[in-house]
């Protein structure tokens, strides 16, 4: 993979961890980063989002939708757990905030989506994960942590899980670098 250059983003690689940190000074920038990722996604891809209430997870997903060519309004799936949108590929937008036990994902029939024809973006992904067990969405994913940055800004911390995650992270690093110029 190639690294993003410039002071706007940095990436590093080692055998165990490959990650990319990108600051976002606004909700619109967070959306733009989501759109860059949305342009790279292929069927079966999984993106995990972690961050507090109001950190920008839904805004990022709106951007992913934009990058996938979704024209419908992408809004919060908190109540229904899952909202589905039609785009270049189907977008499955999950919010696991209300999931108590990761086993529920199987019971509720959501497991079928992860291996389906679309891409899954999963807010509050930690609610679906158990230490030491394979995640319900399989061994590959791109993880995004939303951290508080300066003022109202955020720091988006991207990390790869498995080869699928590395492919997305590499592509995203290139896309961010091209944009920064």
């Amino acid at each position: 993979m190639s690294s993003a250059r410039g002071d706007n983003a940095r990436s590093s690689a080692s055998a165990e961890s490959i990650h990319l940190d990108v600051p976002s000074e606004s909700v619109e920038r967070t959306r733009r980063l989501g759109a860059l990722l949305g342009g790279l996604l292929a069927r079966g891809d999984v993106v995990l989002l972690h961050g507090e209430l109001g950190a920008g997870k839904t805004a990022f997903t709106q951007g992913v939708g934009r990058g996938l060519g979704v024209t419908a309004t992408v809004n919060s799936p908190t109540f229904t757990i899952l909202k589905e949108y039609a785009g270049r590929l189907p977008l499955y937008h999950f919010d696991l905030y209300r999931i108590e036990d990761p086993g529920e994902l199987e019971t509720l029939g959501f497991a079928d989506y992860f291996a389906g024809d679309g891409v899954s973006v999963i807010e509050w992904a930690e609610c679906g994960e158990v230490d030491g067990e394979e995640a319900p969405w399989g061994p590959d994913a791109l993880r995004v942590r939303f951290e508080r940055g300066a003022d109202t800004g955020r720091l988006l911390h991207f990390s790869a899980i498995g080869s699928g995650g590395r492919r997305l992270l590499g592509g995203l690093a290139d896309a961010v670098a091209r944009e920064v110029g």
């Binding site: 507090e52 109001g54 839904t58 309004t73 809004n75 919060s76 109540f79 899952l82 509720l108």
Partner: protein, 388 residues
Amino acid sequence: MRILGIESSCDETGAAIVADGRVILSDVVASQASIHERYGGVVPEVASRQQLSAVIPVVETALEQAGLGWGDLDGVAATYGPGLAGSLLVGLTVGKTLALARGLPFIGINHLEAHIYANWLRPVGAGVSGPEEAATGAAGWPGDPAFPLLALVISGAHSELVHIPRHGRYELLGQTRDDAAGEAFDKVARVLALGYPGGPAIQRAAATRDPARKNPLHLPRAWLPGTYDFSFSGLKTAVSQIVEGAEGVERAGDGGEIAPGTSRYEREGAAAARAGGVTAADLAAAFQDSVVDVLATKTVRAAKELGVRQVVLAGGVAANTALRARLDADLDPLGVALRYPPIAYCTDNAAMIAAAAYFHLRLGERHGYDLDVRPGLQLPFASRATAT
């Protein structure tokens, strides 16, 4: 036409029998709010398990309370979306099975449409003797809502402004771009530790303020100019940051040096806390003011632009008295009447399912027994551009 309606889209399991889409003959709800209160929201797995055991007794009770047998019914209806997949499946499966077993017409109902049709409901004993009077009006009841209508559907899952020129036609004017209005109430109530459900909790907390004391907080409004869309996510973030700022002051103690908050709202929270305290009631009131201001301003603007005769509220947030008062005051000078269902029929209920079903079944519409749940179902929105 007597219709049995079954509703199980989220955390309630309900069955009701309604005559001609208007007169409630029975209405039974097995509420799980107390279970979900423990978790600060709906727990899907708990919801569908509880619904499975509740649904048959609830249907039987609805028949009993109406004093009717199966032979007295003319149709069965159940919600098929939107909602939680597992929850929807319970009500829909039972509804289809009962219709099949009893040889009754069946129709699946869109939960959103049903919320709107809650405005046609008139409980027995409320000055209306039967369906005829319920439709045309009687003492204390103005009759059916009058088209063209504007509907503001606001609940935990929805914030939609819809133009309805006639039965069955829905033109989406605007919707939330992030959180639903009721969801914002729930999340902010959680941040303020006011309990669940958030709507009534925030309204109660806001009402404890001394109205003579100026609220030290003013929260932002997301106007999204040129659209009828809503956004409540930034408001939720602002509340969290004010709480963080105020808590920072509390931790620092009296007279202690306080590290200034990093965001505008943290600084505002810290400043308000230093200037004599910022209470959960202040925050609840400031939050409610912001939500009501945006919802009411956009609704009134749409009512004017479209020249509707009436505005109907639907969904749980329609129970908010501050919103009702503001809309009443702003719509009255325009000669536009504000309608809303009795509070019990604002939140999820089965009577509204039976009401909406009547307006479909009377036209001969039916669904087959292969109808599946549609968790992401929307209203059959027509584009305004092609509306004629």
